[in-house]
Symmetry: D2
């Protein structure tokens, strides 16, 4: 692989796309060739997000004549992402897709939650972009489906148990900041509506629930998952508080030992000896995990991430690093 990769970020005006552009721009082995936006072409990234430093003007993406790049991060909404991904793949571009279009393994499930798929020929052809689980597959991948933010935290919180086939019942109480809502104009994310507030949402069913179930099952535990997300009055940060029943009871020490062994050497997973907090992972690609057993014997597993970093854009960089043959941690420390 070359020393330097030329990279395109498509959809760079939203929260995750803009951050992806910023991270590519800062990356010592990536060159940000173009950052595109349908809605904000002509504006500088720093105009939209004064805290970013990338010196780039947003342009329009012409799929018939895209810029010559080695890799792309696509930050489009689901549905819109698939055709763009397909067009880029046809030109041989290595793609990390931030949408849900290539995360699910069953078309039926995809259609139920997201509607018609925009590039069915590619469905099933992506590697699930959780390096902690699929590191080797990612080194060979050309298309990666970057996981949803909630699945990232939930699956990392539970993977050591799931892999042993131990999970029989899972409750995930998840919470994240307003950036998870995207650059929306919804009344809900007006500062005046969110400050001093917090609330559960999508209580009748959230798209990330089947994704979490799918991944836990793929690891070895086909357990039912109850999932409720909450919105919190903060910007970036996400917590998955998981309550798990096991096939056989385990003592706290045994569970903690299992996690230590599983995550030894992981560059971005940090096992804590107490509950994690969101400020500690903010603007990092880290996932902080704490596991314990509560008084009635249920396992409690907590994972904290930055929802637009490890839960989206920096995780895309982590994947691209592997796909492009770079050090996995390059540009992320």
């Amino acid at each position: 692989m070359s020393e330097q990769a030329r990279v395109l970020v498509a959809g760079a005006s939203g929260f995750t796309g803009a951050l992806a552009a910023e991270l590519v721009w800062r990356h010592p082995r990536m060159e940000l060739v173009a950052a595109t936006s349908r809605s904000d072409a002509g504006r500088r990234l720093g105009e939209l997000y004064p805290r970013y430093r990338a010196e780039v003007e947003l342009s329009e993406l012409d799929l018939d004549a895209p810029p010559a790049v080695d890799a792309a991060i696509v930050a489009y909404p689901h549905g819109a992402a698939a055709p763009t991904v397909a067009a880029l793949r046809e030109r041989g571009v290595v793609v990390a897709d931030l949408s849900a279009d290539f995360r699910l393994r069953e078309m039926q499930t995809y259609e139920r939650w997201y509607g018609e798929h925009g590039a069915p020929q590619l469905f099933g052809g992506a590697v699930y972009g959780l390096a902690e689980l699929y590191r080797e597959e990612l080194r060979a991948a050309k298309l990666v489906a970057v996981p949803g933010c909630y699945p990232t935290a939930s699956v990392l919180a539970l993977a050591p148990l799931a892999e042993k086939g131990l999970l029989t019942d899972v409750v995930v109480s998840a919470m994240q900041g307003a950036s998870g809502y995207g650059r929306s104009s919804d009344d809900l994310v007006h500062f005046s509506a969110m400050t001093e507030n917090a609330f559960p949402y999508k209580t009748e069913g959230h798209r990330h629930r089947p994704e979490i179930e799918q991944e836990l099952a793929a690891l070895g535990s086909a357990a039912p998952v109850a999932f409720v997300p909450h919105l919190l009055p903060l910007d970036q940060g996400e917590l998955a508080s998981c309550f798990a029943q096991l096939a056989e009871p385990l003592e706290r020490d045994a569970v903690q030992a299992l996690y230590r062994e599983r995550y030894a050497g992981e560059p971005f997973v940090r096992l804590l000896d107490g509950p994690p907090n969101l400020r500690a992972v903010r603007e990092t690609n880290e996932c902080h995990v704490y596991v314990t057993v509560e008084e009635r014997g249920r396992v409690l597993a907590f994972a904290a991430i930055d929802n637009i970093w490890k839960g989206a854009s920096s995780q895309a960089i982590q994947c691209l690093n592997l796909m492009l043959g770079f050090e996995e941690t390059e540009g992320l420390r």
Copy 2:
């Protein structure tokens, strides 16, 4: 009962005691005879809490010569509360105790979580101050144990199911704002530490868990409860997100009908047709409840309260209203 009650608030410099003093001061049928504080005697309440309007100077409480009052709200830490409660009861004062000293029904459980009890002769002699469950008992009570904030929300979220003996397994993921931590000088509640942060705490066991289990069992469902509280970057507000397994599966409609029936006419419980939010209950004695069934069949029950209002001080007023023969809603609308 007289037209007007003379009321003492003991421990009025902390968050819940100060609010209790403010609420008594505003109450059309209560007279705030004294608000006492060991640490801040001599200061005006408005100096400590500029948003309160009660015109009162904090004084010291002399238990040998307490002011002549009909009723008292005691807002001391557990342990310290019991002897003061006992001294006031001996003089015939009706007492609402905000501490944990009289909430539990088993001395063994009390001692495990709180240590030695300061007035064992009164243990077991209080009514649990949840008017929605013990209204008639409260009308005759002389001593009420105002419930913990988490039990208030959790039990109100689950009572209709608990009463039918339906609960077999309960997970409570609870969250509250910084006021729940009290007027502490702990680094954790410094604005700089909490803003843009959130975290679970007391994951190895929280004192409110046995209280929740006790109350659900008293209602008819002796189910194990897993309980994890979280601290959120807001001031006042608390959410209990409950995941319950039932003895027999119920459809969403049936569960919602059960709740409607149970809470019909309750002045402070409001059943919503969607998830509650914390801002809507802030600075009120209301509890907003929403119940539904998630995809895998588990009941989701949510309750939102203001942790220092319905979770403490305004609930004490609600109790005193009943104990003193006033309208239950007097001074709380």
Copy 3:
């Protein structure tokens, strides 16, 4: 005047209109006959603002057949307000207008800052709705221009000096929360953009500057005013920090005595003996004022209000109380 007034709130889906509807609904001597909205007709107020309790469904306002009311609060943007105000006045309705359409005394100034006026025949015919300055005029008024939020705070901070003709030079550094930006979908007020942020805005000229200058001049001090507003990461609250040069130097004691005398008996102005804070006035009609003299001899005058209460909607109620012959404080305590 009748015991009870029938009141319409036009434009009740925005922040100030919705609050006006809520306040009218709670008012013991007002009946909320209709709350109208062009954009949200058919929705309940509590759906848009879960923390409000007014039981009212938003309707459309038909100016050809408006509901029969005694009084109206118009909460439209400037420009759109004037014709509606005119139509209501023609039917004899007493009007409190929250827009800027009737605040200025010179048409030229109005046109420079706001464009063409929508009801020039009424221009100049309103009383400026600051009861602390124009109480008697308000008792006789049929149309009141409720002051801008920044002028409310700034003028109340400086009025005692302005009335004596003492002000020769004024700097106002003002700051307010996100609610001042209105129910906008602007990226700026997304929670993710405002949290942990603060910034000056409209530094090249804000419409409230000429209004402040006008009112200080009307009181007796035609001083130049430099005005810079800032947006802060909070919902409701506004501070005017004023730095004033005087025609003749005054000692701190003399200035404070002047303020005490001027504001004695004012029901909603509270003179503090130290700097005000925003939490203390939140959700009240109060204005907290502190005045002192700094080391180099300049007067510092601070005023804190809730920008959508005393800075808009509750001030409209205060005005209507006077216009309708009610107690000035009715419904505001």
Copy 4:
């Protein structure tokens, strides 16, 4: 100068000391030999500040046998700093002092605001650590007084005018987040007290006012400065909004050209073409400046910094870089 400097941070448990330790630890050419704390010796830095990554345990500083270092950052309160600085200087250690002990040029002024000085023999012997003004002096300095946070922002906002002798009258309305209050246990900085709040403080005189006056005078404009600081509900960030009268009127273009010329090439000052915001400078050593002229002819100059970065700890690194012969920007990008 050597390739690598051995550095001590004294007083590393407070906000600025802890950040200084973190920045030294990350610095490619500095080695964090010791981070000391009187109150928290034995605890790891990451325990106190989970978001920091420095792997260091706090130790006690024995001034009789301090660690062998090339340089030190002293983060003690004023008064306590001076003797420690003196002891380190005696051993030839290059020192950046974060306290006020060596900032002022007149002992009388120091004594009025801070009391008796702890090392009068060194008074007057420090370079004022604003590299944008004293770069050459810093290259030769052995002791630097890192400026106060408010003076940093205020002086950088006004320096181009001050140097031309143009300033005749200055008003500074400054505001900063809770971190400026330090790791205090004061009720004021409890999250519950600060959220949704903001207020001016030290309105009768703040220690940074004479420091600002001193520095503007040193640059050429001995103008009186009125200064009022405010506390805002955010963690890190500071804004100086300055209103200046000039000896001769200048047009906006002329003022902006003056600033462009003055700050051309400055690595950490960024001239904006509109008002700055705090989020854009958070966790950076940058100072964002905007200057304009308001309608009545007064110059408005705004400067935004992170109060514990450019306003304290990262500015100390910037100074040490110069003092140690490193690139000025080393470790700060």
